[in-house]
């Protein structure tokens, strides 16, 4: 439900918060000289947990910081919450929030065929901003008893059931329903409400599903998400999931009932808000975009490729609560590979475990910062790998191939190829708070390995989720702030695909600035170089790759492109794609240091102390 208390023209002050798993972040926006701008940020630990068990306390604390910094009073004097609208002395004209506290929205999805309906259901749930705990299907390789045990132990917030085209498979759908019924899964929060189930399968079966599940579950029936094989229709399921999230899940989380009364706009899961912000970039530039939100508990990856939007939420890849899971999944060697100084494996492990158990602490020293940034590279790499398993073509569909029509039910590989990604955008505390923007530029580059010519963006002080939810009610304000205060244009990475030997020529880049100045750079394998080009400036780039290297038009073919300037400028990256770090420790560290020096990534004096 949206309540707008003042017309958009009359609004002068907007408050948005994100109740994250670790931190609650308040962002305060004002209209000055007819233009919406970001004014101040306040942050406080999230208070979803004991002894507080009331998220509004954390919101209040974060807002108090904003009040302290700006002198503008926002909280109502009677302690009832946020004063809306602004009465000339106290309050804001609009308050909205996103939330991922308490583990976000945790779902299970089920379908008949793992690579078809179950996969579509997975995409629908992820699209709604959920963390998908498990994907179940008749052909997932598990025995019935194993699936039942899993359903009983997981305690999801909600289940999305799909399966069968309209008028198609029915027995298998009923089998899945039987499994759910037999397992009697209990909701995660509270024992006194019915577990919400969304049915988005074969419409012929609706009366039977109603009969089988209507009594024991809070059942919602929506249009089939695969009405025919070649169509995926996730929107009705996605909308239902979002509504049920508000109605059932949020209202059972500590303090949310109160927070729901404070807000003027429905609370949105953080990944949903973040996704909207990434879509804003794609819509504005009309390019293929890869976005990422690197959080404390989860890593969310978004892609918009040829207009198709896909979101993945990697539930256990994050920089605080889940930092040890990154360690577990990536392996300690892959993390240590990114660290240019001597560090004992045991010491590194202890540090990461200490971060896990004290997740709100921040790196105070350069050493600790470099360690966290090394983990971030691996979390992002794994997040993208996960995303690629979701961003796939519809399976089970006739695909037009040169050799004729093939009915392909095998696992199709992802359509996410780094060469076709034009823009990469990052958000999340670690990226936004990196003391030098070049650090986040290189973290994103090392993790995602962009190929060809790629524009790089990042969130300035972590407000993409805030602006995403704001864009649902006040698009103009959201875009104005997004463009001027949120979206940092980092610059452009020019990186040919291909590998070779150190010192071998890789590409020649000729740049023509708008003022007519020209420059020519010869890049050799293993090198990385930075060229200054300020934000909102562009340069014409003529890139001639050597034989065996590709910048978008095939190996050895020249490409002409416009390179966008930014706070870090243009990065010429001839380190090779895929990027391999040498196994030999001394050589690897020397190489890392060469790159660090070339980009002036860290303060020299402090870095020297670590070497």
């Amino acid at each position: 439900m949206t309540i707008i208390r003042k017309s958009k023209e009359e609004m002068q002050h907007i408050l948005a918060t994100d109740v994250g798993s670790t931190t609650t972040k308040a962002r305060f926006f004002i209209k000055r000289d007819g233009e919406w701008r970001f004014l101040a940020a306040g942050e406080a630990p999230t208070t979803v947990e004991t002894p507080y068990e009331d998220v509004t306390l954390g919101v209040r604390n974060a807002v108090r910081e904003v009040e302290e910094l700006t002198g503008h009073r926002i909280l109502s004097e009677d302690g009832s919450g946020i004063a809306v609208p602004y009465d000339g002395k106290v309050g804001v004209d609009l308050y909205c929030t996103t939330s991922s506290a308490g583990g976000g929205l945790q779902m299970m999805v089920a379908g008949v065929v793992l690579s078809m309906t179950a996969e579509s259901a997975n995409r629908a749930a992820l699209g709604a901003g959920a963390i998908v705990m498990d994907v179940m299907a008749v052909d997932d390789g598990r025995q019935s008893y194993q699936k039942i045990a899993r359903l009983r132990s997981l305690r999801p917030d909600m289940i999305l059931l799909a399966g069968g085209t309209d008028g198609g498979a029915s027995t298998h759908v009923i089998k899945i329903v039987e499994l759910v019924n037999a397992a009697e899964p209990k909701p995660r929060l509270g024992v006194d409400y019915k577990l919400p189930i969304v049915y988005a399968g074969n419409k012929v079966l609706r009366p039977q599903i109603e009969k089988m599940m209507g009594e024991n579950f809070a059942l919602t029936i929506v249009d089939n998400l695969r009405p025919v094989l070649k169509v995926e229709n996730t929107e009705p399921a996605r909308t239902a999931v979002h509504e049920l999230f508000m109605e059932h899940v949020m209202s059972h989380a500590p303090g949310y009932t109160k927070l729901m009364k404070w807000t003027d706009v429905d609370i949105m899961p953080t990944p949903a808000g973040e996704g909207m912000a990434i879509q804003l970039i794609a819509n504005t530039y009309k390019r293929n975009v890869l976005g990422v939100g690197l959080g404390g508990a989860t890593t969310n990856v978004y892609s918009i490729v040829e207009g198709r939007f896909v979101r993945s939420v990697s539930a256990n890849l994050g920089m605080s609560y889940s930092i040890c899971n990154v360690l577990k999944e990536a392996g300690i060697h892959n993390i240590i590979h990114w660290i240019p100084f001597e560090l004992d494996e045991k010491d590194l492990e202890n540090r990461l475990y200490n971060k896990m158990i004290r997740p709100t602490t921040l790196p105070h020293t350069l050493e600790e910062l470099i360690i966290e940034q090394a983990v971030a590279r691996e979390a992002l790499r794994l997040g993208l790998e996960h995303h690629k398993t979701i961003a796939t073509r519809l399976k089970g569909v006739k695909i037009d191939r040169d050799t004729g029509y093939i009915f392909d039910q095998k696992l199709e590989e992802t359509y996410i190829k780094m060469m076709i990604i034009d823009i990469i955008a990052g958000t999340g505390g670690l990226l936004s708070h990196a003391p030098r923007r070049l650090q986040s530029m290189l973290i994103l580059t090392d993790a995602f390995q962009p190929e060809g010519v790629t524009r790089m963006f990042q969130d300035s002080v972590f407000m993409m989720p805030h602006l995403g939810v704001l864009s649902t009610v006040h698009r103009e304000a959201a875009w104005s702030i997004f463009d001027k205060d949120c979206l940092v244009r980092l610059g452009t990475v020019i990186a040919p695909a291909g590998t070779g030997s150190p010192g071998e020529p890789v590409m020649t880049v000729e740049l023509e600035m708008l003022d007519g100045e020209t420059m020519k750079e010869e890049m050799k394998f293993g090198e990385i170089k930075r060229i200054d080009l300020a934000e909102r400036k562009e340069a014409k780039a003529l890139i001639t790759p050597h034989k065996g290297y590709d910048v978008g038009d095939g190996p050895g073919h020249m490409v002409e492109s416009m390179a966008m300037g930014g706070v870090t400028g243009i990065i010429l990256d001839a380190r090779g794609r895929p990027l391999h770090l040498p196994e030999e420790e001394g050589v690897r560290k020397e190489m890392l240091l060469k790159w660090i020096h070339a980009l002036d990534l860290y303060p020299e004096d402090k870095l020297k102390e670590l070497l």
């Binding site: 004991t50 302290e68 200490n354 896990m356 602490t361």
Partner: protein
């Protein structure tokens, strides 16, 4: 972009609202524990009853595991006919290998059967899938009091709350569930390492306390000697992995079946146990204590705890009161490098963001350490010491 720093130059906060609450280390307080069944059942005690740690306070039965019999598939028949083939009704008891459905033709010459893989009850069958669901017998679930005390609240069908006067110590991380035993110190100071040669059969059934660190050999020896629990400052993450046999990805623990409960009070690596914690454990050496390693850092923080019931008069009225905000003079502990573990008092809370060693701008505070030195640390890197 508007700068936060220029607006706040030179000002200090009177009180910080954004801070990390500390771990509780209390000599005496009323500890209240609520002990609940996971699903409704029977409460076995009355209001005002005095109970012991192992008194069962509530009991219920959880539905048994369901088993699916692909009946018509097994018999090679169409699913629609299943109601005719059933020899058992919904609600009937069946034994393992007993026939549930059968098809007989030619006067018994051809016989096809589907039988139950378990002892249980027929729950349902379906003529669209051809399956029969048989459920195992219910599983009894009991909840013990965990600490000795008086029942102060009955939560109908779910459980009880009980109270006791006790010393209460929270650890930072633990493994293993609720256990109780006599508290015994094996070291003389909080910076001493707990090694295997200190552990012998005389500590069977006891909760042993070490100093700064426990070795993997000591951990193994403690299991071998059937020690109930261990409280120690730190452990190496790698040793924990070796001990458990798997890596911990996210800190949700307490369900491990390892025959011992381990609580670390400070963190991973070698870390002297805080003097207050050590002194308190020493003060109550020989007392019976309850401990639980259950830790959950995400979605509802649960920290591991040691509860030592005693009859000394208490200073605090409640165990769950919220600490006041952080102000100059508040005792704090630094919880990240550098100065990890150092204790001091807040000197000031500058409003402006300050640049720290990593070059990041952060909200900071100034702390006067016990040795008189004043250091500036990120506000996020201290916790309040609750006195």
């Amino acid at each position: 972009m508007s700068s936060v720093t220029e607006k706040s130059e030179g000002r200090v906060s009177k009180e910080a609202h954004a801070y990390t609450p500390g771990l509780k280390v209390k000599r005496s307080m009323i500890v209240r524990k609520t002990r609940l069944l996971p699903i409704p059942g029977d409460v076995l005690v009355k209001l005002g009853d005095d109970v012991e740690s192992d008194t069962i306070v509530a009991r219920t039965e959880a539905p048994g595991e369901p088993h699916i019999i692909e009946a018509t598939n097994i018999m090679g028949l169409d699913s629609e006919g299943l109601p005719r083939y059933m020899v058992k009704k919904v609600g009937d008891r069946v034994n393992k290998n007993e026939v549930v459905a059968q098809w007989i033709a030619f006067f018994g010459l051809i016989k096809r059967i589907a039988s139950s893989p378990i002892d249980g009850t027929v729950e349902s069958f379906s003529d669209s899938t051809g399956r029969v669901i048989v459920r195992e017998d219910p599983i009894p679930i009991e909840v013990a009091a965990y600490i000795p005390g008086k029942i102060v609240e009955i939560i109908p069908n779910m459980g009880v709350s009980l109270e006791t006067n006790a010393a209460f110590i929270q650890g930072i991380f633990g493994i293993g569930g609720g256990r109780h035993g006599q508290l015994t110190l094996l070291v003389g100071s909080p910076d001493e390492i707990l090694t295997d040669d200190m552990i012998s059969s005389e500590y069977e059934g006891k909760i042993i306390v070490g100093g700064s660190f426990i070795t993997i050999e000591a951990l193994k020896k403690a299991i071998e000697k059937r020690v109930t629990g261990i409280v120690v400052g730190g452990i190496d993450a790698a040793d924990l992995t070796k001990f458990l046999g798997y890596e911990i990805g996210v800190a949700i623990t307490g369900e491990e079946e390892i025959g011992i409960t381990l609580i670390i009070t400070e963190g991973f690596g070698e870390m002297s146990m805080s003097q207050r914690t050590f002194d308190l454990l020493k003060r109550f050496e020989g007392y019976m204590a309850s401990m639980n390693g259950a830790t959950q850092i995400r979605a509802g923080v649960i920290r591991p705890e040691i509860i030592i019931p005693h009859e000394e008069s208490f200073e605090q009225a409640s165990g769950d009161e919220l600490a006041a905000g952080m102000v100059p003079g508040t005792p704090v502990r630094i919880i990240r490098m550098p100065h990890f573990g150092a204790i001091g008092k807040v000197v000031s809370l500058p409003v402006e963001l300050q640049q720290v060693g990593s070059e990041s701008y952060m909200r900071v505070l100034e702390v006067e350490l016990d040795d008189g030195k004043v250091v500036t640390v990120p506000r996020a890197n201290v916790e309040i010491i609750e006195e």
